[in-house]
Symmetry: none
Amino acid sequence: MRVLLIEDDISLADGTVKALRRAGYAVDHAATGGDGRRYVEAGQLDIVILDLGLPDIDGLALLRELRLLQSGLPILILTARDALTDKVAGLDAGADDYLTKPFAFEELLARIRVLSRRNTPVREPELKFGNVLINIASHEVRLDGEVQKLSRREFAILRALADRPGQVFSREQLEEKLYSWGDEVTSNTVDVHVHNLRKKLGHDLIKNIRGVGFILGSTG
Amino acid sequence: MRVLLIEDDISLADGTVKALRRAGYAVDHAATGGDGRRYVEAGQLDIVILDLGLPDIDGLALLRELRLLQSGLPILILTARDALTDKVAGLDAGADDYLTKPFAFEELLARIRVLSRRNTPVREPELKFGNVLINIASHEVRLDGEVQKLSRREFAILRALADRPGQVFSREQLEEKLYSWGDEVTSNTVDVHVHNLRKKLGHDLIKNIRGVGFILGSTG
DNA sequence: CATTTTCTTAAGTCTTTCTTAAATGTCGCC
DNA sequence: GGCGACATTTAAGAAAGACTTAAGAAAATG
């Protein structure tokens, strides 16, 4: 298991590196963002621990770059920035976990274990279908770059379909994604929302399969 | 996106449930571990938020149980227990994230988004017969790579035949696949659909065995 | 608490698909 | 080769399903 620590504070990095090695990991250390990027480009890494206050590159920008380089690579942000907005921004930018300094080393190890046992692939925070771009975090959807305001239910339907492109969802399945237990609905709400979605995002994005349901993003 | 909150403190749960719903999630709430387990058994969930101080079951034991029931289901622990050993134990027992109370709701949402980015790869069951490719998930059928639009009944017949290639199906057997009990039909519908299928997919795919029924030949 | 937005319902319209039945075609047996 | 049984084709009316619209109810927002 090979870990890359991107951290500019040398003395802090030193201690962490040593402790990680003691815990049985092979550890690389990069003191700058540019350096870190080169390590990731070289491949062979299983997990990246990223400090945000780097001297040369904005941490979140680097994070997005690394994601592009290796989309499945788990990235844990480890930083002194404990403001809520920083956490949310970091996680939404594609980080898999966010730990603030000062931290308990045992917790870092546990969170590394969580990330390293994960074997399912991870999706980008943004989804793209043709000329439609879906930002899960901001509930913002763009058609040809232009922001379209979606209501909550519209977004929920779109997201459900976008989670599994090429898979048909029956109305019942979609309702399950929209309504909590006890809130079931007995009308053609889904149809109406789909209709409104199509008005906003174009008529070809969501297709209907007669007698079966709705589907997004397959060629048929 | 369907979230289950397992939490015994009713007033806290109420607030969280409402806020989650406002964020666009379908939310189920279980006040006991046993209840929570039943929700998970029922399926349809995308993520579980688990409180550890439950009245009836030890939280970690429940966590392990849920993991067995649905191994890919993301579980986030949300608890007042902020001791390091609790965190480590929770994460090592199989939780995907661990958030301590009191918490910022925005952070919970961000961490839910992280977990929902994971998508369990789904096997796409495809059946192939000569130059005909059948995709069950998308209800798509291709002839020489080109998508052919099939109606519901046509697809049902083709799927029935394709499920057991080389086996002859009588008209009665095929009708059983098309109609629910009580909907029986008294004409040559099956023949008509087979005819339309052949028009779309070539005349050799579905063969007739005189006096017996229809069969899908793998040698086409 | 008033205003605005979003959600649900339901009814009407439109489209596709299903069924029916009758005509035509084919096989195999006498 | 002709006859009867079975299979295929055709077309039209019926039925089912999808889409659209609008209005009242509910929920969010300030």
